[in-house]
């Protein structure tokens, strides 16, 4: 079928106001939106900029706003967003991050937040050559959060960030949760430095747009709420002692 891609374009961060370019492209309903973009860029407009790599939803390169929703272009089929000839698919860059060119955003802010929560196992040295045992139940406590591919969809969908408030962002908290809840980890107190401050975890208003936007099925809002509760519990205990 023939669909129109309406792509929001901008040539540089400080450049002209963005404008939409319209491309007509022949696609099959079962093809990916990414396939359509690749076809346009290779055939019609080689100046069009967008990131891509794995092509099947595991690398996180091609998160963008498709018909108003954060999605991965490689995990969204044409038939998910268009029914018939002449339908229009609107593609915009992720929100809440500066645009570098067309659909390419600068993710540095997002990764600074990620790094600030110490997203790695903090634990005493293991006994040489020995596993740290963990039960399947202990693993299940954080397993969902290990699905994160740092694509930035949740960061883009976050209403707190859209309102211009200073906030770590959903994904960074989910990554903190991933380690805080790991039975092998001892880094919770270290992570508080990034989480427990006015522009840390607390601005979250639990609107759960992050969970809705996540292409990997992370229950981010739940993970943020549980982290808030854990911090409160921890501080109460600390004050008592």
């Amino acid at each position: 079928m023939r669909v129109f891609l309406l792509v929001k374009r901008r040539s540089s961060p400080g450049g002209l106001e963005p404008e939409f370019a319209r491309y007509e492209v022949e696609v099959e309903p079962h093809e990916r939106v990414l396939d359509a973009l690749v076809r346009v860029s290779r055939r019609d407009d080689p100046t069009l900029a967008f990131r891509r790599s794995c092509g099947h939803g595991v690398c996180g390169s091609d998160a963008m706003v498709i018909n108003g929703r954060e999605r991965l272009a490689c995990k969204t089929l044409i038939r998910d967003v268009a029914d018939k000839d002449g339908d229009v698919v609107i593609l915009e860059p992720l929100r809440n991050l500066p645009v570098r060119k067309d659909l390419v955003v600068d993710q540095e802010k997002f990764f600074i937040a990620y790094r600030s929560v110490k997203p790695y196992l903090v634990a005493p040295e293991a006994e040489a050559g020995k596993e740290r045992p963990q039960t399947s139940r202990e693993r299940a406590a954080f397993e969902n959060a290990t699905n994160c591919i740092l694509c930035g969809a949740c960061y883009s969908a976050c209403l707190v960030l859209r309102a211009g408030k200073a906030f770590l962002g959903p994904s960074a908290v989910a990554q903190a949760f991933r380690f805080n809840e790991d039975s092998r980890d001892r880094g919770f107190e270290e992570r508080l430095q990034a989480l427990d401050k006015p522009d840390g975890i607390w601005p979250c208003e639990s609107k759960a747009e992050c969970t809705k936007a996540c292409p990997r099925g992370l229950q981010i809002a739940r993970q943020i709420n549980e982290t808030k509760r854990r911090i409160t519990r921890h501080k109460t205990l600390r004050e008592k002692s």
Binding site: P46, S53, C59, S61, P133, T135, F142, R184
Partner: protein, 582 residues
């Protein structure tokens, strides 16, 4: 063009997948290290690996590294260097535990240890029966390895240059002293001078039409090196994974068969009984891929018309919904997302997909790059991971051994590179490094007219798939080689339409196409040269393995539009070659 930015490090690592990150972790604590990656490290293709990492932990049943090494040798149809296979298998045990210690969330046994499952070609007692050797984290083991290594790199303050595309290597004779890279964001060239350079740039499955590989897997490292006179080893051996999602080539892990899935033809027959009576659906990949193509050729594909898009069934229904969701959730998701198929209720339509390069830049066990068929090496030049050829995969890689390769040889190369850099001086370059790359870049962005690069890419993919694919003949490969020469010449005449500098993906596409064409030509020439069938190289005009003449590694040099061939002996010190039956 103005001043090129020049940076100086002790060590530069090109590529930030499993091997590059592991090497960076080892080297960065000892010498000033920079890691260049064409994509953000977390986008690297290691993250797409699914089924597991093989290690003879023996957590669920008896296992030994020696058995793992033997399986690797036999799986590779005896073209594996046997000492290296032992290193791989022995060090795999340490590596799996180290990854666990760094936080990798492996699935667990009831008593809390790393769980293990079956995988193709992995056996106990030198081939007696399948063994549970693959350590796994659901069906996204690669994702967890990539994340864990990147997390450790953050913890250790590794310096990354993301979205830097390597375009040239600085070599003075046999001494490597840096690379030239294009910064994708700005379009400017940067020179990275270094005492030592490691290439860990990944594979090149994008030369084929249907592939499990990422857009980024275009063999940039090996191609850049080959253009500077570095040989490539065993390029004729390219693995087709038996089970790619029909039409898309998206990988469906062998773990599906490890958990009990079976392949079926249109008559619902479990056809692997005919091809591998002992290991059945868990035979090595080359054997299963050929079995699928044979079934289709003989009219037993699901369509039954022998067309290019015929397919067979992968029946995962017997696994049960619960196990599928617990151990193979990604696969279930891919089937639903892309085909609308629920694998718990319906069989999955699959077709072989171009997956893994056994060949690559020849190295020893420490990642040092070989310069010739004797024991000559480059100085300060290393390679590891899929872009390298140690060789531990020989003519056919076993499932899970790619992840083992990354962590074992990435680590070893990182150690050796650091030791070398600690004791070396930074070479003074003759002339101005990077000027050749600059001149070339200017020439293609100066608005020359030429053929459409999209057509060249389509032609290359079709030529490689049809003529240098699962089954091969001399006539077809010779035709492919001629076609690839034409395509290379045409590619050299291409001019860009997009003259912009920032995020110029047309330029990137063209660079990648040039790299793929160079490697495709070396692949076709190496394949045409080898007059036997071994592992993944299956010739209909030479259907038998011929140890008397061909039990040797191919070395190939790119020289203009010619490929110069030589050979290197195989390390056979442990096991004598035997017929490969399963």
């Amino acid at each position: 063009m103005g001043q090129m930015e020049v940076r100086t490090y002790d060590a530069v690592i090109v590529g930030a997948g499993g091997a590059g990150l592991y090497a960076a972790l080892r080297a960065s604590g000892r010498v000033r290290t920079a890691v260049l990656s064409k994509v953000h490290p977390l986008r690297s293709h290691t993250g797409a690996a699914q089924g597991g990492i093989g290690a003879a932990l023996g957590n669920v049943e008896e296992d030994r590294p020696e058995w793992h090494a033997f399986d690797t040798v036999k799986g590779g149809d005896y073209l594996v260097d046997q000492g290296a296979a032992l290193t791989l298998a022995e060090d795999a045990v340490r590596a799996a535990i180290e990854l666990e210690n760094w936080g990798l969330p492996f699935n667990r046994t009831p008593d809390g240890r790393i769980d293990q499952r079956r995988f193709g070609g992995h056996t106990r007692d030198f081939g007696q029966a399948p063994v549970r050797r693959s350590c796994y984290a659901g069906d996204r083991t690669g994702h967890m390895i990539l994340q864990t290594l990147y997390q450790q790199c953050l913890k250790n303050g590794v310096a990354f240059f993301n979205e830097f595309q390597v375009v040239d290597v600085l070599l003075e004779g046999a001494r490597c002293h840096g690379v030239v890279a294009l910064e994708i964001a700005t379009g400017s060239l940067h020179v990275f001078r270094a005492k030592a350079v490691l290439f860990a740039s990944g594979g090149f499955g994008r030369m084929f039409r249907v592939t499990s590989n990422a857009f980024a897997n275009t063999g940039d490292g090996p191609a850049v090196l080959a253009r500077r006179g570095v040989p490539l080893e065993d390029m004729e051996f390219f693995q087709f994974h038996p089970t790619g999602l029909r039409g898309l080539g998206i990988l469906i892990t062998e773990g599906v068969r490890g958990e009990g899935g079976v392949l079926r033809n249109r008559m619902n027959e479990r056809f692997m009984e005919k091809y591998s009576p002992r290991l059945l659906d868990l035979a090595p990949r080359d054997i299963v891929a050929r079995a699928i193509v044979t079934e289709m050729r003989e009219g037993r594909g699901v369509k039954g018309d022998g067309s290019a898009d015929d397919y067979v069934w992968l029946d995962a229904r017997g696994i049960g919904k619960e196990t599928l969701e617990a151990k193979l959730p990604e696969i279930a998701g891919f089937c639903r997302t892309y085909l609308g198929v629920d694998p718990a209720a319906e069989p999955i339509p699959v077709l072989p997909t171009a997956h893994y390069a056994m060949g690559g830049v020849p190295t020893d066990e420490d990642g040092r790059v070989r310069a010739n068929a004797a024991d000559g090496f480059y100085e300060g030049l290393y390679a590891a991971g899929e872009c390298a050829c140690v060789s531990v995969h020989g003519a056919n890689r076993l499932g899970t051994n790619s992840l083992v390769d990354l962590v074992v040889f990435g680590r070893r190369a990182g150690d050796h590179l650091a030791s070398f850099a600690e004791g070396a001086e930074l070479p003074e370059p003759h002339g101005e490094p990077g000027r050749e790359a600059e001149a070339w870049l200017e020439s293609i962005t100066a608005g020359r007219q030429g053929p459409h690069p999209g057509d060249l890419r389509d032609d290359m993919e079709r030529t490689m798939t049809e003529k240098v694919g699962i089954f091969r003949t001399g006539g077809e490969m010779a035709a492919a080689l001629e076609k690839l020469k034409e395509l290379r010449a045409a590619c050299h005449a291409v001019g860009l339409e997009n003259r912009g500098r920032a995020f110029n993906y047309e330029l990137l596409d063209l660079l990648e196409l040039g790299n793929l064409l160079d490697l495709a030509m070396v692949t076709a020439a190496s394949a045409l040269n080898r007059q036997e069938s071994r592992g993944a190289h299956a010739r209909e005009d030479y259907p038998e393995r011929d140890d008397a003449h061909w039990l040797k590694h191919t070395l190939a040099w790119l020289d203009g539009d010619q490929v110069i061939l030589d050979a290197r002996p195989v390390d056979l010190t442990r096991w004598a070659p035997a017929p490969r039956t399963y």
